[in-house]
């Protein structure tokens, strides 16, 4: 009934009607606003506490008397925060670069090349995806000890640079690219490498971007492996560094919150900017089952 009414009156819709239609969902908007606020309440406390003095941080009142912006530079004096952040970014960046590249090569081999034993090898890849990372972690650490890579960036990057999941994700993506395209290129005399590099890679861009974002995020957060691998404080990644800060100066709530703010805010900005790619990635990732 309502739809008919709407179609009939649409061209003549008066201003009050439009306002009414538009304001119809305002109650729901109100509910959503309250719920959203509840979700970000911890972040609000985090920011406000980071602007307090040490004495105020013990006070239940939320607001500082005067904003202590100096807390932020103070963090850099107490711990090598920028060093931690740089370590995280460099490690995550290298892992992402290597993982996307090796996964794309392998995915091309699995999705497009026809070689004896291919499906059996792929099945082994799939099988290892079920294994909890923890199972491989202890022996991997022993391997790192034998290779002398404990407490080195290389030791952080190497094991994470090859991923069965990434290979799987990109293979699924490449299977969706029409075969006619590489066949045409082949007729034109392109080599396998040229097909891979000039035809498949550009067309796989959404998949590559998705994998890159996921890998980058995952490794920025990564905690277990850097925790067992890194010995020198200067080589800590951000999560390990924050924990170090907490255990060394945990009583300085205001500084701790300034450090937490500085490690969370870039993530928030990144998410707001890359939302669309990220959400698409979640949907692709879920299909793997």
């Amino acid at each position: 009934m309502r739809t008919t009414d709407e179609t009939l009156t649409k061209p003549l819709e008066s201003l009050p009607a439009r306002v009414r239609h538009w304001s119809g969902g305002m109650g729901l908007h109100g509910v959503m606003t309250v719920l959203s606020l509840a979700m970000i309440l911890p972040f609000a406390w985090m920011v406000l506490t980071s602007l307090k003095t040490l004495a105020e941080a013990a006070d239940p009142a939320w607001l500082p008397h005067t904003a202590q912006w100096g807390n932020y530079p103070e963090v850099f004096r107490v711990i090598p925060f920028l060093r931690f952040a740089a370590n995280s970014l460099v490690v995550a960046g290298w892992v992402t670069l290597l993982q996307v590249f090796t996964s794309a090569l392998a995915a091309y081999s699995f999705a497009r090349l026809d070689w004896p034993g291919r499906d059996r090898v792929f099945f082994i890849y799939l099988g290892t995806m079920m294994l909890p990372g923890l199972v491989m972690l202890i022996p991997n650490y022993e391997i790192m000890v034998k290779l002398g890579l404990v407490d080195s960036y290389l030791g952080l990057v190497l094991p994470a640079a090859f991923s069965a999941f990434g290979t799987f994700l990109l293979r699924q993506f490449m299977l969706g690219i029409p075969r006619a395209l590489d066949e045409a290129a082949e007729i034109d005399g392109a080599s396998k490498w040229q097909i891979f590099w000039t035809v498949i890679m550009p067309l796989s861009r959404p998949g590559l971007v998705t994998l890159a974002i996921f890998t980058l995020m995952g490794n920025y957060h990564s905690f277990f492996w850097p925790l067992v691998m890194m010995r020198t404080v200067d080589k800590y990644t951000l999560p390990v560094g924050l924990l170090f800060f907490d255990s060394e100066h945990g009583q300085a709530t205001h500084l701790l919150m300034a450090a937490v703010t500085m490690s969370v805010v870039p993530l928030i900005v990144l998410f707001v900017l890359l939302q669309r790619q990220f959400i698409r990635g979640i949907q692709i990732g879920a299909v793997k089952g």
């Binding site: 729901l28 908007h29 959503m32 959203s36 606020l37 979700m39 911890p42 985090m46 506490t49 941080a57 013990a58 239940p60 009142a61 939320w62 607001l63 008397h65 904003a67 090796t102 996964s103 090569l105 392998a106 026809d114 070689w115 004896p116 890849y125 290892t128 294994l131 909890p132 990372g133 923890l134 199972v135 491989m136 972690l137 202890i138 022996p139 991997n140 022993e142 391997i143 190497l158 640079a161 090859f162 957060h221 905690f223 277990f224 951000l238 999560p239 390990v240 924050l242 924990l243 907490d246 709530t253 919150m257 937490v260 998410f271 959400i279 979640i282 949907q283 879920a286 299909v287 089952g289």
Partner: protein, 493 residues
């Protein structure tokens, strides 16, 4: 596409695979073989270190038999499973937020860019004024008012997308940083959680003191009646669906067994109520036996995804609710006596009983607006609108529309999300334990993954740790099989 001899094709294929497979062998297959070997060896830092080189001995199943006799292992396995009781709440929360988000008027404001810009400016300006010009206690009201206004305007301007973003942030940022933040939030003396809880608890205590009868007697009775009614409702539902051939024996077993098991586990955990754990265990066995023996319907119904998955998810949700009701029944009578001294806010992370719920609540905060919510949103947008139109024509109420259209249509997602949640839950808890509680107090927040870490890297019992990690693999493997056998096949291909 197949050109050249098999040998040549193999070489080309391998050439592309080489960088990946080299790393895959070095950091996945070799460690895997090593992990198997370790689990059967006596690799212990006490015997094999820089100073002592006793040869490694293979000890067969020793590590595993020790593990079975290790009371700590069982406690930590229990912790891991207990933490997963939060999962159904998280899934229900994700579904509820997805439903709310799809209902929001998707119409963006015409000049949304302008509104957005102005709202942000107003908000930032207000915040700066507040921050710069000394803050009176009343400043908090102004701040939250401004924040709410900003969120509201942004939400209207972006047609609801802003809410989705804000809901998702806790999940996106979850990591050591937010765990450190929550450690401060839970601080028993200076933390905002207890600061906010104080007046609430005082009010509750005075309410109990004023009406001891209501809380000491009416509440437990009401909770008991509630538990019985809920159980009866669930059993009737199961029976009806069974008769209509919508579900098979497996769904009946899950639907009745999972809540019974949850109640039984709680009774066992609450010392003194141990005797009541037995009826629950009997109920679980009876539901399995009944469903197996009365084979009037096949074990698995034709529509596996809408049968087993739905019942499984609903049972997972019913379990904790029943536990809460039974807890109110059990603990209610003691309330008036406890209230005379007033209720003290819990020492969240420092208390044996509260540490686990504290971590679970934090995890819930991060899990509601998570990937699960995104998947539900996608699922909701894929439900054909004709179904709702037809239902509306037949005069179905909103409740009926939900249970007969939305819920079954989303069943494959619910199933996927539950199984994945269990798989991650079995491996989870390490970061929280390490960053917030160090597994304590008294091991109450040590999960299997944290136990592996402690055994391997703190105690140096590498062989034993490997054995524990293989048990974890076994559990994950079973869940993966469940997913593979019962999951929606179409979604898997």
């Amino acid at each position: 596409m197949s050109t050249g001899s098999p040998r040549r094709r193999w070489l080309v294929g391998m050439a592309f695979l080489l960088p990946n497979i080299a790393g895959f062998c070095a950091f996945t297959l070799v460690p895997l073989a090593l992990a198997v070997a370790m689990a059967f060896s006596d690799w212990d830092i006490l015997r094999h270190n820089v100073f002592r080189h006793e040869p490694l001995a293979f000890v067969g199943l020793d590590n595993f038999s020790r593990l079975l006799r290790d009371p700590q292992f069982w406690q930590y396995l229990g912790n891991t499973l207990f933490m997963m009781l939060g999962l159904p709440f998280a899934i229900a929360g994700s579904l509820a937020s997805a439903l709310l988000l799809t209902r929001v008027n998707r119409r963006r404001l015409p000049a949304s860019g302008w509104v957005l810009g102005v709202a942000t400016l107003v908000f930032v300006g207000a915040a700066l004024v507040l921050l710069a010009g000394g803050m009176a206690p009343g400043g908090v009201g102004w701040m939250f008012g401004g924040l709410a206004l900003g969120v509201f305007v942004l939400g209207v301007a972006t047609g609801g997308t802003a809410y989705r973003t804000l809901f998702y942030l806790p999940h996106f940022t979850a990591g050591v940083a937010t765990f450190v933040l929550w450690k401060k939030l839970y601080d028993p003396h200076n933390g905002p959680v207890n600061a906010a809880l104080g007046p609430v608890l005082d009010g509750a205590a005075s309410a109990v003191r004023h009406t001891p009868f209501l809380f000491g007697e009416v509440l437990p009775v009401a909770a008991g009646i509630g538990a019985v009614v809920l159980t009866a409702w669930q059993l009737r539902r199961l029976r009806r669906r069974w008769h209509e051939g919508e579900i098979g024996g497996l769904a009946v077993t899950l639907g009745s067994g999972v809540p019974a098991a949850a109640v039984g586990a709680w009774c066992h955990w609450q010392r003194g109520w141990n005797a009541f754990a037995w009826p629950a265990a009997v109920a679980v066995l009876a539901s399995i036996a009944a469903a197996t023996m009365v084979r009037r319907r096949p074990w698995r119904a034709a529509h596996v995804s809408t049968g087993v998955a739905t019942e499984f998810a609903l049972a997972m949700l019913l379990g904790p609710v029943l536990v809460l009701l039974v807890a109110a029944l059990a603990l209610g009578p003691a309330l008036p006596a406890a209230a005379t001294a007033g209720f003290a806010a819990p020492n969240w992370l420092g208390d044996y009983g509260w540490a686990k719920p504290a971590l679970m609540m934090m995890a819930l905060w991060a899990a509601i607006g998570s990937n699960n919510m995104i998947l539900y949103l996608a699922g909701l947008s894929n439900i054909p609108p004709e179904l709702y139109e037809a239902a509306e024509m037949d005069g179905a109420t909103a409740q009926q529309r939900f249970w007969h259209i939305t819920w079954p249509q989303l069943a494959p997602i619910t199933f996927f999300v539950s199984v994945m949640g269990i798989i991650y839950g079995l491996q989870g808890g390490f970061e929280m334990a390490r960053a917030m509680t160090l597994g304590g107090p008294a091991g109450s927040t040590t999960t299997l993954s944290y136990y592996v870490f402690v055994q391997a890297f703190e105690a140096g019992r590498l062989g034993y740790a490997a054995a524990v990690s293989w048990i974890m693999f076994l559990l994950v493997f079973v869940m993966s099989l469940v997913n593979f056998r019962l999951g929606n096949r179409d979604a898997n291909d």
